[in-house]
Structures are given as structure tokens and as C-alpha cells.
């Protein structure tokens, strides 16, 4: 691994605190951006985003689409010659943005995270139909995928009723994690 001179950016420090990852190891070879399946839809490529974190361009990063469009496919983390876990950096950036309650450039994505987690905390196991209904309410996309949803219901691919098995144990974990993260 090539040593890169340490730089200081508060944002890079915040990423490190959350994930333990050092963005300053990145030497901008662009291998991550070339293999990223979603870079075509991003405003900044993964390579550009990590550079912006190194430079401490907090506003640019927080207002970018990139981390919300990252599919967590792990291609970048697998191929990085400097062993930077960029998928992990994307997670950290998403976490920082949500903690700061930044208005997300792709709002449906954090809405999906929150609705899914609420669903799991309540039922213990994912209750798909409930999740879909919540998402439709929150993103006001009532007609999207209606036909497909009905076909899946007919095929018995979506359950009408939730299960509550495992709900108690899951709820305990959620509340413990919440209590620790408040401190």
C-alpha cells in the first residue's frame, strides 16, 4: 500500500469516527468509478466523492446524489488498490447525512431505509406489504407498480398478514442500539 501524506479535513475525521476508515489512503486512481455500476446516474463519481471528503467539501458531499444511489455492490471495495472500503465510506456518509437531517437529493432512498427499519422493529421480520403501503404514503407514488403488486399477490409472493415471530428480540436490539446512540 502506498503511504499518502496525511491531510486534515473535519469531514474525513467524521467518516473515520463512524467507520474506522481512512479516506486519505485514496490516491485517485479512479478504479472505483470505472467499475461502479451506478456511476452513470450519479452527479459525482465515487472517485470524485472521496476526493471531496479528503478536501473537506462537506456541503458538496452532503448535497450530492452519489451516496444515495450507491447500491452497496462492493465492487469498489473489492478492487481498490489502496484497500479503501469505499462502500463502507458511502455508508458512513449516508449515516452522517441522516444524523444531520440533511434534505436528501434522492429523498425516497432514506425514506425507504427508515420505513424498512420501522417495519422490522415492529414485526421482527420484514412485512413487505406493510412496507410497500408505507412507502406509497410517504413518497406519494400510489399507482407505481400496482399491476405488478397485484400479480405478485395472486402468485402468493406477498403475504397479506405480518408475522410477529422474533419481534420481541428484534425490538430489544432496536431499543438498546437507540439508547446507546443517543448518548
Amino acid at each position: 500500500m502506498v503511504k499518502v501524506a496525511p491531510r486534515f479535513s473535519e469531514f474525513a475525521e467524521a467518516v473515520k469516527t463512524i467507520s474506522g476508515l481512512d479516506v486519505n489512503l485514496c490516491f485517485q486512481c479512479a478504479k472505483c468509478a470505472s467499475g461502479c455500476p451506478v456511476s452513470y446516474a450519479m452527479d459525482y463519481t465515487p472517485t470524485q466523492l472521496i476526493h471531496a471528503i479528503q478536501l473537506g467539501l462537506t456541503d458538496l458531499v452532503m448535497n450530492s446524489k452519489t451516496m444515495w444511489l450507491c447500491a452497496s455492490c462492493q465492487t469498489c471495495s473489492t478492487r481498490c488498490p489502496q484497500d479503501v472500503d469505499l462502500a463502507g465510506v458511502m455508508d458512513a456518509v449516508r449515516i452522517i447525512a441522516q444524523r444531520k437531517k440533511i434534505k436528501a437529493k434522492i429523498p425516497e432512498v432514506p425514506i425507504f431505509y427508515r420505513s424498512s427499519l420501522r417495519n422490522i422493529a415492529l414485526f421482527g421480520r420484514m412485512y413487505e406489504l406493510g412496507l410497500i403501503a408505507t412507502l406509497k404514503l410517504l413518497t406519494r407514488s400510489f399507482t407505481k407498480d400496482m399491476g405488478l403488486g397485484l400479480r405478485m399477490l395472486r402468485k402468493g409472493k406477498l403475504n397479506i398478514f405480518p408475522s410477529f415471530k422474533g419481534a420481541l428480540a428484534a425490538r430489544r436490539i432496536f431499543s438498546q442500539v437507540k439508547a446507546r446512540e443517543k448518548r
Binding site: G20, A71, I106, I120
Partner: protein, 291 residues
């Protein structure tokens, strides 16, 4: 052989056929799967995108039950769950701070000596591989299949410890043991768009279109998969992809366990073949007639 079994949330909904066919082929192979008592969701992408602690605690909480049940090995068929379990164990080994925090959240032992297996890791090795070829009776030799592994089984390799990450062969080995011709192709580990199914469907459509195109261009009759998310994107969205891109595929997407079951002579009811939106029946009939 006896393993603890974590079916994952989709085993009760979108991927019932994966769960059913896995249980059916395991019982033929003499592998006993014992479902984890009151298991709960692994948290998947939403958890690791919101809280690192939650993302570790959910899988480890399930492993604590495995430990209590007295098992040292657990089978996890969903690639996304598999990746969450492997990541939690990996992080636990590498981050002392996390270990301390988890210790305060989960009572008792969460068992870092538990081994997490994807069924392909068991089936593609001896003694199971030999047993699989001896159980294969239904001639599927005429079926040309591409194996699609997706992202999370193989990546990142230091976490998943699964096969070779850029060009895996374990599913190909299993299907070849059944006499199925698996084809070489370039999209084995490309991303299908995964969790964007409900949010940015356009991304799923594009990435899954690339995969279907790749399969078609090498002349595949079907795509074999090992993950419920990949299956949903390639099967249930296929018609929409065809409309969006003006293409015509009608490519059946089958779980590798269903192909094993067909070859073992299990009925299509046992394997829930009728659940797919792109029906595999016609293709299978054709192949049987030629056999």
C-alpha cells in the same frame, strides 16, 4: 449432516420457492436443516445505511440463538443475509470497540466461532457434489444455463470467503454435476440493482436489462440464481424490462436448488415452479422431449 438454518424474511414471501426447494433437495441429500427458533430480520441494506451498530447487532443476535441451540454451523441461503452475517463476524474480529458494545446489547454468547455457510459452499464440495451427481436422473443435458451469482456472495472476498470473486464457479460445478451445460458469460457477478427495486426502479431496469442481454447473447435458455433479490429483479421485472427496452427474452429465472430438484425428479409442486412470473415450464418440456 445437520445445520442450523436461517431462512431470511423473503423465504416467507417473494422467495418461498427458494426455501421450499432448498429444504426438499437437502432432505434428499440427507442434510438436516434446523430452523433457528424465532429468528428475526438481519437488517439488510437499510440497517447498514443507518447504523453500524444495528447492522452488526441484528445478525449477531440471531447467531446468539444459534449458539443457544447448540449449533456451530448455520446455513444462510439469501445472498444479502449471508453478506450481513459474514460482515458482522468480520467486523467483530477486527473492531475491539464494536465487540465491547455488542457485548452490552446481546445477552450471553453470540458465538464468533460459528461458521456461516451459503448452501453453494456445501453443495459444490465433496461429499455433497458426488451425491448430487448420483441423485441426478432427469435429463437436463439439453438445457443451456448461465449461473448468476450477483454481488454479495463474492464481494468483498476477505469478508465473504466465497469462491473466486471475479469469476466464481461453484454454482457451475453443482449444475454440471447434474449434467447441465453451464455457459461462460461476462455478467456472473454484475449488480442487478438490488435494493432499489422499490425506490429507483429505473436503475434496476437498466442493470437487470444488461444481465438479461448478456445471458441472451451467449444463447442461454435460463438463468440460475442464488439470491431472492436477484430473482425478484430478473423475474418479476422482466416484462417491464422488455417493454422499456423493446426486447424479448422470456428467460426463466430459476433458483439453482430448483434445477437440482427437477434433476432429482421432484415434482414442480414441491419446487413451486409455478410461482415464477416468467414460466419455465415450456422450456423444461422442450428439453425433456429432446432428452
Amino acid at each position: 449432516m445437520k445445520y442450523a438454518y436461517y431462512p431470511g424474511c423473503s423465504s416467507h414471501s417473494t422467495a418461498k420457492e427458494y426455501d421450499h426447494s432448498l429444504r426438499a433437495v437437502c432432505s434428499r441429500l440427507g442434510i438436516e436443516l434446523v430452523e433457528i427458533k424465532d429468528w428475526f430480520c438481519c437488517g439488510s441494506t437499510p440497517a447498514h445505511s443507518v447504523s453500524r451498530l444495528l447492522a452488526s447487532a441484528l445478525p449477531l443476535g440471531n447467531l446468539a440463538i444459534v449458539q443457544k441451540m447448540g449449533f456451530k454451523e448455520v446455513v444462510v441461503p439469501c445472498a444479502s443475509c449471508f453478506s450481513r452475517f459474514k460482515t458482522a463476524l468480520h467486523d467483530l474480529q477486527n473492531e475491539p470497540r464494536l465487540r465491547e458494545e455488542i457485548g452490552q446489547i446481546i445477552e450471553g454468547n453470540w458465538g464468533d466461532d460459528i461458521t456461516v455457510y451459503h448452501p453453494l459452499q456445501i453443495f459444490s464440495e465433496e461429499p455433497q457434489l458426488g451425491k448430487i451427481s448420483s441423485l441426478a436422473k432427469q435429463g437436463l443435458a439439453g438445457l443451456k444455463v448461465v449461473c448468476y451469482y450477483g454481488c454479495l456472495l463474492t464481494r468483498p472476498p476477505k469478508v465473504t470467503e466465497f469462491d473466486t470473486c471475479e469469476y466464481p464457479e461453484s454454482m457451475d460445478r453443482v449444475l454440471r454435476a447434474l449434467g447441465i451445460a453451464t455457459l461462460d458469460w461476462s455478467y456472473k457477478t454484475d449488480c442487478c440493482g438490488a435494493a432499489f427495486a422499490l425506490t429507483r426502479t429505473d436503475i434496476v431496469l437498466k442493470l437487470s436489462h444488461d444481465i438479461l442481454e448478456g445471458a441472451k447473447s451467449v444463447g442461454a435458455d435460463a438463468i440460475a440464481v442464488a439470491c431472492p433479490l436477484c430473482h425478484t429483479n430478473l423475474d418479476t421485472r422482466q416484462e417491464e424490462i422488455e417493454k422499456t427496452y423493446g426486447a424479448d427474452y422470456k428467460l426463466p429465472i430459476l433458483y439453482f436448488t430448483q434445477l437440482m430438484g427437477i434433476s432429482f425428479g421432484l415434482s414442480s409442486q414441491e419446487l413451486l415452479l409455478e410461482k415464477h412470473l416468467v414460466s419455465p415450464q415450456r422450456k423444461l418440456e422442450e428439453v425433456k422431449q429432446h432428452a
